[in-house]
Symmetry: C2
């Protein structure tokens, strides 16, 4: 970052503005300067690959020094005026944040005040987006990983002309039913890409977004058409940096060579408990160099606009590594008494300090006011955005003519409309099909689906050969083979989940799946919860789903995990029992694009059971076998997954004794809950209170199904290290115990 | 690591052996060499602070070169013989692992085969421990973070003479009821310090153990008596390195300057999915330097014994930083066809490859055989260990005479016996006491307890001022103030939990607490589960426990978290309603030293309720108010935490209408479950089916309490960003809704 870059940058910008006077003449209402010039000065500089900064690099140094003094003076004046407007825009962002937090009397003004300069430069000068279509496919993605600073993003979306954040939305910040919740939520606010707030998630989401871009670009770009071509920008703070998930995701970003991922690290030295000195004294720059990132330090993030601009240019020039731009800022910049302290992090400034900040920054306006020149300056993004999209649409039309098949696939990924009849690819099984572990059956499904769903990609956290997740017809997604679909996440479950959220939210037709042992959902639970909240239909392939994994012992044996996910909102917890149910689980998982699915799969072999079906799975709970009539069984055995076989065998025995027994597979509680009362009654008639459930997990929650007169067989302790069969026996998960329990009712 | 260090080291060792011939004459059964010499050669070199290696450093280089050739030849012969025995011992470790995995036909031979050299050097030459008292306070701690390699540790414990791992235990590796489970479990195997397997936990546990040592040393050591003085060693693998938790904990270890933490990074380039090249190409050395560690690379971890020894010496010399010794090893070293491949990681070698490995390493013995000379060599650790402990006991007796108060405190920490009447320090409240948030009441309890419990220490993940966890009479535990008790974890929840597990397991009287928002238990769930499994009585202070936190919105509002922990084995989930219940929760938490407690605490103010009590909390569920008689209420309202006030108000209203209403506080389901049937019936009589529960969380599991005829009021969706009162109303968590629901029954 040479100190001289400022003037040079402006000179280049000016010459560009002069040489292309007609390029953006949509600003007739400008007063201080002709509209097109300002637009070009601060608006068009970095938003295309042939940026003026690249041009600058081509200028030989002596040519610059030889410029006439008169010309330089003109540049200086223009630059000053332009900088004044930039500063006004930046202060607008600051005060929109201050005012919204003040009105809500709740929120985080510190980050928006400190990050307003980089925010302004990104949204006004660098990023390509269409405010009137927040979902335009080829837009640059922006993630505020430090989600508490969401007023920064809301202010930017507001200025840029997004319909999701009008003035009234800013005024209802953090209020019931508003589109401006306390942390960014993609499902509430178009223009927000992902849901952040829990620290570190956002940077990992951004890695997922950048992975998706690199993957799709590799698959669909042609020598004559870069149809997929955008950057992913992210702002993360000290808090994100401390979280382990950010290290996991950042390690992968470098491993994959995600050159179009540009992360701004808001290095403000303040976290909630005070100066980061008390808990965070590592050298982040060195760590990121160790991870394999390109690292740039912008020492003056408060007013060093050209430093920020030049850093972005440098970052774009480094194409084989992600870039971390460490931007040293002052949290709460502008507040005379609270800046640079934790007190400005998470509460309203208070009327007095707001007034002092107004004085300090020279801000005479009413709350929520956007000065006319600022408004006018930003208003060009509506037409610019429309032009970006129109240009891309034209490009795509050309592409479609030349590359019909690729275009159709890409369209499916962009739209989320799957090829008709895709579900017919799912395998089906008969009771004569060989017994197999559901993890293996899962691999058959994944491989069948990968042929018909172009957006299916994923992998495992270093357990591909245990989770059985490899797509056999594809290679590994790696730095130099990004067109492939097997993603190797390493032992990084948390990062894996959050990266998949990013992939999912990149395009409606991308279907990411990821895998580990079911017990290690504990490592990634925060990311899974975000999947559920942000409506990302990630497929979680969770194998080794019970004590049935045997010898690895209690550290590896899930017990409470089924219950813990059944309690989580907006998630599908599926535990298939055999091949047909596994196929059914995949059908449900693929169809649920706005709800994640967790598939709990066995390590051990299971029989293919009579009566199971894909259709049954879609109802969540269904009758697998029954020898009663009139919906009046004497006994109902209810089970899931690997224990359904035990229930079926127990039923056979009891039927031999003349009992009328129904066996119900309860593969997904959530789906069953969604069925009609009539259907539920047809499966679990209220009059039948003799019910026994069997599941190799916590009985917590089963009382609802078996009722107070029924009994739940399960495991309410930790597991044990021993061969699986032995543990099943010791824990009473046996045909004999089911029969005895049933008879005791 | 100079290549010349080998000879120099041996020379020094020899001169030491010769000059102290009587120091360990407990080996009359040695054949190949006189016992004391071998003992000294390979056994005493590094196990005291005045190590011979330090002595070596004091020798000027020319003096070493001037040695006579005759002397050098003698040294060489002796060295060769000694090295041969070391190698034999190392191969014993390898084959014990191979044989146990082979017999179990399950397990992980690769790591023990590769790490046997460092394991041998640590347990035979470096570490101070007493095999006949695995709990001797001042022992060096060892953690196998790569827990799947547990046969390494079992073999070492076996050789060292621990009663927990006899030959029959090795032979029942991974079998039902054995003391040698599939991953190291401190509660099964004395000598194992912590429970590992889930990757990355162990290194964080080790940070906790080292923190505890540094803290206790700072508090209790005197200029004339280093009564607390041990190292913490850890072996971690590539998998641990990839996990975010290890980065979190390692960042803190350097921040705190834990100089007596020495980590061996088993750099074998293989993880389950194959070469680490596919997912892990960062530069770990640079990352650790960025984190602030001292980093050493042992390039030949397979046979470079002196390199390993010298690295440990160097690590010990660096007192202000933890040291990472990257030891490049070959996974499955010795196996001609499987070494250096993932196939040796996690399955038995198979008879053929075992035989090939025997051939390759020259191992003619039966399975599980420990050659006599190896056995004899190791047998000295029993007397050595006894001597270590006796020496320390004598030292402590001296200490006790001089520093009576400190000795009493330290004794309490070592034994876990708390001062009589400590619980009287807990505050009590009356209904007239001011309303307050339970997070604030929690801080009153913590500060009251810190005065009477010398082992209470802890802190928050950068939310001390929100979680209200600061101990006011103490400063911050920091690198230069390690005697203080407020620990600043930064935004590193997962590391925090695992570090607290380490602190807890360091000494029975240490009571670590840690804090964040309740929703962020998702970030640390894997560590909390290990607390429960490994019987660490960590106190989790989890504030902002519901939608009651308001504007921060659904990313910050727990919903399913109460249910998810109620389903977890061996954990106490406590949700107190006011001051007395918060005090009760702390009493329970402190008393439960082998079971973690989670305290869910409110952000918002709550009234002090009539009828609440510490004693009530101890029973888990109890009657807070009742206007019925004969255990026959018409209606039972059941609630926890912040909603108990709503239940109490609803009861008041209903009683005004003449209803007989009981209000039950259900603060801990687990404690209630443990009560007698008679007590349970006295609180929730079976005959009363009109039950309504109210809790600001998922209703999952409540069916068990309210029964099929009762109703559970709760939240089965994600929360929302708005002022808390508004969300309560919109979600029906109101007095009016309780009354209406009760009337509907």
């Amino acid at each position: 970052m040479a100190a001289s870059s400022s003037l040079t940058l402006s000179q280049t910008l000016l010459s560009r503005a002069i040489s292309h006077p007609a390029s953006s003449s949509d600003r007739p209402d400008r007063i201080s300067l002709p509209g097109f010039r300002l637009s070009n000065l601060s608006g068009r500089s970095l938003d295309s690959s042939s940026s003026p900064l690249s041009a600058r690099r081509r200028l030989p140094a002596p040519a610059r020094q030889a410029r006439a003094p008169v010309r330089a003076a003109a540049v200086e004046t223009l630059e000053k005026t332009a900088t004044a407007l930039v500063e006004k825009s930046i202060n607008t962002i600051r005060f929109l944040a201050i005012d919204a937090v003040e009105k809500a009397n709740s929120g985080h003004p510190g980050l928006p005040m400190g990050c307003a300069p980089m925010g302004h430069i990104l949204y006004d000068e660098v990023m390509r987006y269409n405010p009137k279509n927040p979902y335009w496919f080829n837009r640059d993605r922006f993630v505020l990983s430090a989600g508490h600073g969401c007023m920064l993003q809301y202010a930017l979306l507001h200025l840029a002309g997004y319909d999701s954040v009008k003035e009234e939305d800013l005024k209802s910040f953090r209020q019931w039913g508003s589109r401006t919740p306390g942390h960014p939520e993609n499902f509430e606010t178009p223009g927000v890409e992902v849901t952040t707030g829990p620290l570190g998630q956002g940077i990992a989401n951004a890695v997922g977004l950048a992975l998706a871009e690199k993957h799709l670009a590799a698959r669909y770009n042609k020598p004559d058409s870069e149809i997929v071509d955008h950057y992913t920008y992210v702002i993360l703070g000290d808090g994100c940096q401390m979280e382990g998930i950010s290290n996991e995701a950042s390690s992968l970003a470098a491993h994959w060579g995600l050159g179009k991922l540009i992360a701004f690290y808001d290095d403000n030295h303040i976290s909630i408990d005070g100066d980061t000195e008390i808990a965070f004294t590592e050298n982040v720059d060195i760590r990121f160099e160790g991870l394999g990132w390109h690292v740039i330090w912008v020492k003056n993030g408060n007013t060093g606009y050209d430093e920020i601009r030049a850093a972005i240019e440098e970052a774009k020039a480094v194409k084989d590594k992600p870039t971390l731009i460490k931007v040293t800022t002052t949290i709460g910049y502008g507040s005379p008494n609270k800046a640079n302290s934790y007190s400005v992090h998470g509460s309203a400034l208070g009327a007095k300090e707001v007034e002092a900040t107004r004085q300090n920054l020279g801000w005479p306006f009413e709350p929520f006011h956007v000065p006319d020149d600022v408004k006018s300056h930003w208003s060009r993004h509506v037409s610019k955005g429309a032009a970006f999209e129109a240009e891309w649409n034209a490009k795509f039309a050309e592409y479609e003519k030349k590359y019909k098949e690729d275009a159709a696939e890409l369209k499916s990924i962009i739209s989320g409309e799957f090829p008709a009849g895709w579900e017919k690819a799912l395998p089906t099984y008969t009771p004569e099909s060989p017994a197999d572990a559901t993890r293996n059956l899962s691999q058959q499904c994944l491989n069948a689906l990968a042929k018909v769903l172009p957006g299916l990609l994923g992998g495992s956290a270093d357990l591909a050969s245990s989770n059985m997740t490899l797509l056999k017809m594809f290679g590994d997604f790696q730095k130099d083979t990004p067109q492939e679909r097997n993603v190797r996440f390493g032992v990084r479950e948390h990062g894996m989940g959050a990266i998949c959220n990013g992939i999912d939210l990149h395009s409606p037709g991308l279907i990411p799946y990821c895998a580990t042992f079911f017990v290690f959902t504990d490592y990634m639970r925060a990311a899974i919860r975000i999947s559920a909240l942000c409506e990302a239909g990630v497929i979680y392939v969770m194998t080794h789903d019970s004590i049935g994994l045997g010898e690895d012992g209690p550290t590896h044996q899930p017990i409470e995990h089924l219950a813990s996910f059944r309690a989580m909102p907006n998630i599908l917890m599926l535990r298939p029992a055999d091949g047909n149910e596994t196929a059914g689980a995949y059908k449900v998982a693929v169809l649920n694009r706005k709800r994640p699915s967790i598939l709990a799969l066995s390590r051990q072999k299971l029989s293919q059971l009579p009566g199971t079906s894909i259709e049954g799975v879609e109802k969540g709970g269904y009758i697998v076998s029954d020898n009663s009539s009139g919906n009046k069984p004497e006994l109902i055995l209810i089970s899931t997954g690997s224990e359904l076989e035990i229930a079926a065998k127990a039923a056979d025995e009891l039927r031999k004794e003349g009992k009328k027994v129904r066996v119900v597979s309860f593969v997904s509680w959530e789906l069953f809950d969604e069925q009609s009362d009539a259907y539920k009654e047809s499966v679990l008639p209220a009059a039948v209170s003799a019910r026994v459930s069997i599941e190799a997990g916590s009985t917590f929650g089963w009382e609802k199904i078996v009722g107070s007169k029924g009994k739940a067989i399960g495991i309410d302790r930790f597991g044990a290290s021993a061969p699986a069969g032995k543990i099943y026996k010791e824990f009473g998960l046996t045909v004999e115990n089911v029969i005895a329990t049933a008879k005791s009712l």
